[in-house]
């Protein structure tokens, strides 16, 4: 079965898995709260203390992630499409990242790993292809 949608059943976490899940959730919450505060308080568009993207610093070209900090900061300031304007790829992945965060919270709070829905293999394999195409495309577009 390689071309259909398959579902792996959910399961209850055992004690050590639960402990790991709680630590993971605490780290995620702290990281999100801290970075949102910093990005809101000191917008990357105005302050330059943010570390430069290593790729951009080395090559002078954009990496697939360039613009995501500015975009998130714009979003925090109420411009919902801010992320789309500075990095459409990040906006595309935002729902997936949100989903990952929700799974982490469910694992920590109720100790249950929800069933995993697996899409056909090509959908996963196309993700790196899309990223590389976007990477090349955005640099061609900015010339």
């Amino acid at each position: 079965m390689t071309n259909g949608i398959t579902v792996l059943p959910g399961y209850r976490l055992d004690k050590s898995e639960r402990r790991k899940a709680v630590i993971e959730a605490v780290v995620v919450i702290l990281a999100v709260v801290l970075s949102c505060y910093v990005l809101y308080r000191w917008s990357p568009a105005e302050y330059s203390f943010y570390p430069p993207c290593p790729w951009h610093w080395l090559t002078g070209t954009d990496c697939p992630g360039c613009g995501s900090l500015r975009g998130i900061s714009a979003m925090l300031h109420g411009q919902f499409w801010g992320l789309w304007r500075s990095n459409p790829l990040a906006m595309l992945f935002a729902p997936l990242i949100l989903y990952g965060g929700i799974i982490v919270m469910i694992k920590a709070i109720i100790g249950y790993r929800p069933p995993v829905v697996m899409f056909p293999a090509w959908t996963y394999r196309s993700i790196p292809v899309v990223i590389v195409l976007y990477w090349i495309g955005r640099n061609i577009a900015s010339i």
């Binding site: 079965m1 792996l8 430069p52 790196p128």
Partner: protein
Amino acid sequence: MAQCSHCGNEIESGVQFCPSCGQPVANSGEASTGWDETSRQQVYPQQEYDQTQPPAHVENHLVKAIIVTVLCCLPLGIVAIVYAASVNGKLQAGDYAGAVEAGQKANTWANWGLGIGLALIIISTLIQILAISSGIGI
């Protein structure tokens, strides 16, 4: 005293697993030896574990890999995504060992990306603080 059907060591009656070899003890609680003393043949077939039985879940760490890529820690994030993207395909093709291995590789690459990214943030922040405190100003 009973005898383990697997290694032949004497074991307490009532235990479910042999303390010396770890094999399950047949008919635990009974005075069964697990051996037919006359023929010295193992009468209880050794319990077989299905090695192809899939693990319940294989985490692909795709979300972590994407976060690393989007927050600018290339090219480690891309490598992690390539591994993460192969996990579910391998699972669906029945290659469980391969899926587990790919998931672990995705996790390792993503963690290196996160670690290097965090290190760069800390180094960059320290340089800024030093520059400001010594009055250089970048």
